[in-house]
Amino acid sequence: MMLVWTVSVMLLSCWRADASTGPKITSEPIVVNNQTSAVLSCNLTDPLPVKGSHWIYNGKVIEDSVSTDSNPYTILRLEKITHTNAGKYECVFQTEPVSKQTIEVKTLPHVAAYKHSEHGNEKDKGVMVCVSHGYPLPTDWNWFKEEEGNHAPIINNTGLKFEIKNTPNKTILTINDLNIQDDIGNYICSGTNEIGSNSDKIYLRVRSRLAALWPFLGIVAEVIVLVTIIFIYERRRKPDEVNDGSAPLKSNSTTNHKDKNVRQRN
């Protein structure tokens, strides 16, 4: 009887020893999906001595959550969940060994365009960029063109008209050979992650190649007119000053320097 009991105790302790690497924590909730606010809580189920606890967000310790009491229970309140505070939260208990548990707070991706109004030149290329913040980052990007209320999908045919380059947090749509009739309008970039999708709108303006030509020609005309005026003015003054060839100087004193053959440098 004594032997059986000893063996079973030894087996039990062995089993306990190679159980999970850390003490067990129950977290509530396990994952936060698209909620406006949440209360994250961690409960240390193993009766180990706790020296303190804190929370970590995206690898950095949250200063306000550091506590030194031996409570095996800790909570973190997220009053307003937006893409700025979505991510991975870890509750950490100072035990031997340290025990931690991760809670993921997921939201819809926040999709924003770099510039809401882009422009390009006719026959040139137009570039539109959308970026995303939040957690998790979009796994899928889509571009649409708004035509008469419908969203017409844009397909990536690299090298021809449309080029789409995607990374998890950025998408770039390049339209080659812009056409004034067809390519002006609203473009919608949409990023999708496991929760859902979000989008933003960019308005593309196509300038005619000749649009800047008219002001340019106007300025060139003005330059030519000015130069002509200056030269004509000078030609008309030339006969008056056969001696000097220059504007009259301020002096009206007749000094003995003035000589008919003198040409003043002005």
């Binding site: 040139d124 106007g218 200056i230 504007a247």
Partner: protein, 456 residues
């Protein structure tokens, strides 16, 4: 007859010297061309954002465009001066204006970054080099007593225009896309051509003696080129000393422009506060240029003394910049920046005006060209050096202190100029022909009158 005051030109001849009249028209022309050269260069940053996105290149690769432009402008300055000596200033400036505009027009059609280096950088830079030095020299030749004021007024255009061009360029880029905006800028740059047309053709500078009739031998040609470029100046100690001093100024002068905003941010002020400090310094810069120009021409002090004063003060204030911000006080930073802005503007008006005092009015053109070329190296050195110091020490204190010390070093170099400590300007070197030229140096050089009619 030499009066103790700096305006040593004799009383009876004062009325003969060009000062005002058509000269002010040329000041307006210089105002416009300087703003179209330097004001434009300083505002090209608006385009760089577009270039980075369009060409998908790094910001550093794009910034080489303006570096190339500035380097080309300074490198080709002696060329512009030499061509003015060989032909006339009007032609050179008009050609320069055309090239500057042409470069920008070509740039609007660029399809790769290399095109931009060649057009906006090289061609426009060449045009700018052919414009700036000749115009400055022409204006200086047209003034005697009010020379510094004329220069101060004209150079104030740089600050004013970079202030006005930034929003203008932004508007152009948004309305016409960068290609259209560059095209229009090219057209605007062509306005330098009428500015150049305003230069009245003047008496040709006497051809150097060594060239007799038409000889096409290599040696004669080389000698002509040598004389047009005024390379003989490189053998003269006063000019070399002055150039060395100005080069030292240039190493430290630009450092606050590069780093003041970053330093303010690092110390802890917000973006807007930092930007406002820069704008305030820019405003006092403009004020300093005009005020110093006006004051210098009153004649109470020699130009060289005033310049040494402003450069020494500017150096001191640059060194004080980090000290003021270490105390954390925004007011202190603002006051020192305002004072620095005023002093740095004040010294710019004088740097060019002193040149004819050292080399004489006739050689001023070539002297300015060479000066621009030599000081360009300093500008290239100063920025990276201060950046390096910042990377090594972690803050900008060392950079500012070193920059200020370069300015003070330059001032000390100036003190080794001959006749520095006398109260009157040094007697000009006699030109090749006339001994009487020594008595009325500037008058003689400008009028080239037969000297026997000169009065004391």
């Amino acid at each position: 007859m030499s009066k103790p005051k700096a305006k040593a030109e004799s009383g009876g001849d004062e009325a003969e010297l060009p000062d005002g009249g058509w000269g002010w028209v040329l000041v307006a022309a210089l105002f416009i061309s300087t703003s179209l050269v330097f004001g434009l260069m300083r505002s090209l940053g608006i385009f760089f954002v577009e270039f980075v996105q369009y060409f998908e290149e790094s910001a550093q690769a794009i910034s080489w465009i303006s570096s190339t432009g500035l380097a080309a402008q300074q490198f080709f300055s002696p060329l512009g001066a030499a061509l003015c000596n060989a032909y006339n200033a009007r032609l050179v400036v008009m050609v320069g204006g055309f090239l500057a505009g042409f470069g920008l027009i070509l740039a609007s059609q660029a399809t790769s970054l290399v095109h931009l280096y060649l057009t906006m950088g090289l061609i426009s830079g060449l045009g700018w080099g052919l414009v700036f030095t000749p115009m400055v020299a022409t204006v200086m030749a047209n003034f005697t007593r009010r020379r510094t004021l004329a220069l101060g007024v004209a150079f104030s255009s740089i600050g004013l225009s970079s202030f006005a061009f930034n929003p203008l360029f932004q508007l152009l880029v948004e309305t016409y896309a960068w290609r259209g905006a560059l095209l229009i800028l090219g057209g605007l740059s062509l306005n330098i051509i009428p500015c150049g047309a305003l230069i009245r053709p003047q008496q040709q500078r006497p051809k150097p003696k060594v060239v007799s009739v038409k000889t096409t031998s290599c040696a004669a040609l080389l000698q002509r080129v040598f004389s047009y470029l005024e390379l003989s100046l490189l053998l003269e100690r006063p000019y070399l000393t002055y150039t060395l001093g100005v080069t030292l100024f240039n190493v430290g002068y630009f450092v606050p422009y590069f780093h003041l905003v970053a330093h303010s941010r690092q110390v802890g002020f917000s973006e807007y506060e930092a930007a406002f400090v820069m704008s305030a310094a820019g405003a006092t810069d403009i004020l300093g240029r005009v005020t110093s120009g006006w004051f210098s021409d009153l004649g109470y002090f020699r130009l060289i003394h005033l310049m040494s004063l402003w450069t020494a003060l500017a150096g001191v204030f640059i060194m004080l910049l980090p000290v003021s911000s270490l105390s954390g006080s925004y007011a202190a930073l603002m006051v020192i920046s305002l004072l620095y802005g005023f002093c740095s503007g004040a010294l710019t008006s004088l740097v060019f005006a002193v040149v004819p005092k050292i080399v004489g009015v006739q050689r001023m053109m070539g002297a300015l060209g060479l000066l621009q070329l030599i000081e360009s190296g300093a500008g290239l050195l100063g920025g990276p050096l201060s950046g390096l110091l910042r990377d090594v020490t972690g803050n900008y204190t060392a950079s500012f202190v070193v920059a200020g010390s370069f300015l003070i070093l330059g001032t000390l170099t100036m003190a080794t100029l001959p006749h520095f400590f006398s109260c009157t300007d040094p007697p000009q070197r006699c030109s090749q022909n006339d001994k009487d030229a020594c008595s009325h140096p500037e008058l003689h050089q400008m009028n080239s009158i037969p000297s026997d009619t000169m009065v004391q």
